[in-house]
Amino acid sequence: MQDRPTVHELLESLGRFLDEEIVPATDGRRQFLARVAANVARLVDRELASEEPQLDDEWRRLRAIPGLVAGDAEPTGREALRRAIAEATAELAGRIRSGEVDGEGPRRAAVLDHLRRTVREKLVVSNPAWIEADEGAEGP
């Protein structure tokens, strides 16, 4: 276990330094890139905070899609979990491509629901404002 400051505190400090000291001291393209860098610091902060529950949720949803994941073996450790999710997602992409999820019906609805939740989890990390604009009125 590391000493304070925490990763969150360090990244917050990095973002603030870029925003408050580098952005005002630069212009044009360099200023734009400094803003991008500050956003990256905040993105990494959000990712560290939410990655574990997001990976667990995504895997649980993939397992719930009938016939997508063979066997009952559960991946152990975060790397194995990432690999399992990547494989199941590649399999899902192939099935969509081959037309298995065309038309209407519960199977398509279940797959689209999973995809929407997965994309939502990506945006919670990369750009929360993007979904807030759509969910502001009606909630998630």
């Binding site: 992409a93 491509r97 689209l112 994309v119 990369s126």
Partner: protein, 343 residues
């Protein structure tokens, strides 16, 4: 390319082009793009016994390599053709290659703002935003009138003779996606299936038109009175004119002003109805929806292209790196559009 080198080589080139004595003022680098460098300069043309003429110009120097459908001379010819139909484009001035050792052309430097965020948000463009939908529609109608048959613009990529336009665009986009994606994107797979089962029925024998290919806020010059010029022609091709109307509605070009579906400045319907007036016939809303969904997928695939440059270490820029995390924005919008939840 160094400004001193350009100054030294460009003067004799322009003197030969104009048959007069030429002096360059204020030559300096502008923000270019991935495929070319841009410079601003004033060319002062002096003829004996006449008042000197000053031409405010932009010089575009094409970088070697790069994935480009056509080059500087071709783009120059395209601007000439656009000027002839009255489309608002910078007047082309001269094109060459030998003088700078790389293909280049010069065009009129039109004053105005190109930065989308400012056009969408700043108070000084409030009146411009009122008139832009009509101006953009009329500009598109003019662009789409440019004759693309014959030899003059034969460099423009497009569908093979007789090939249905929308299907061929989806084919080309899918090929690009398959070639560059490093991870699966199930939402893009859903979208490709949707596009293939919702291809707009083009009129039998409908000929392709000139399509700008990147027509959006950010690629047009705007001043307080509205549209001044349409820029950035490197993605021009022969295709379905409605592709341009769908592209400008892609959510990523709204600069955070998401409720205004036309580039963050107005409702998309303001563009569509003004375009119908300008071309003199109705436009199928289902086809426009198809092209907006196609446009969101196309931008999503373009984000994959850009991040590939970072992942392969070709362009180690933080901008390209962070674009990799923007793909999800297009995925979200695609699901919203396909499931009928988008604005």
């Amino acid at each position: 390319m160094k400004p001193e080198f350009i100054a030294e080589r460009l003067v004799p080139f322009l003197e030969a082009e104009t048959g007069a004595s030429v002096r360059l003022d204020g030559l300096r680098s502008m923000t270019g793009g991935a495929t070319r460098e841009a410079f601003r300069l004033d060319a002062v043309v002096e003829r004996p016994g006449r008042v000197a003429e000053t031409h405010p110009l932009v010089l575009l120097v094409f970088r070697p390599g790069g994935q480009r459908a056509f080059g500087a001379r071709e783009e120059f010819r395209l601007l000439e053709a656009l000027g002839r139909v009255g489309a608002p484009v910078p007047r082309p001035f001269a094109a060459g290659e030998e003088a700078l050792g790389r293909p280049f052309y010069l065009m009129e430097r039109v004053p105005g703002e190109a930065i989308g965020r400012r056009i969408v948000r700043e108070d000084r463009f409030a009146a411009a935003r009122e008139v832009l939908p009509g101006q953009l529609a009329r500009a598109l109608a003019a662009i789409h009138r440019v004759p693309v048959e014959g030899d003059a613009l034969d460099f423009l990529p497009g569908p093979a003779p007789g090939e249905p336009i929308a299907a061929s665009e989806v084919d080309r986009l899918e090929q690009l996606y398959r070639a560059i994606a490093v991870e699966p994107h199930p939402v893009f797979e859903v979208t490709l299936r949707w596009l293939r089962s919702n291809l707009p029925a083009s009129a039998p024998g409908a000929a392709p038109a000139l399509v700008h290919g990147d027509f959006r806020i950010g690629n047009v010059l705007v001043d307080e009175q509205g549209l001044r010029a349409v820029l950035d022609w490197e993605l021009a091709h022969r295709g379905d004119p409605l592709e341009d109307l769908g592209w400008i509605c892609v959510r990523s070009w709204r600069f955070g002003n998401d409720r205004r579906t036309l580039g963050g400045i107005a409702d998309r319907e303001a563009l569509f109805s003004a375009y119908e007036d300008a071309v003199g016939h109705g436009v199928d809303r289902a086809a426009l929806r198809f092209w907006e969904i196609y446009g969101n997928l196309r931008w999503g695939v373009f984000t994959l292209v850009q991040v590939r440059g970072f992942l392969e270490g070709i362009v180690p820029s933080i901008e390209l790196a962070s674009i990799g995390r923007r793909t999800a924005e297009t995925e979200w919008e695609l699901l919203q559009l396909i499931e009928g939840r988008a604005r």
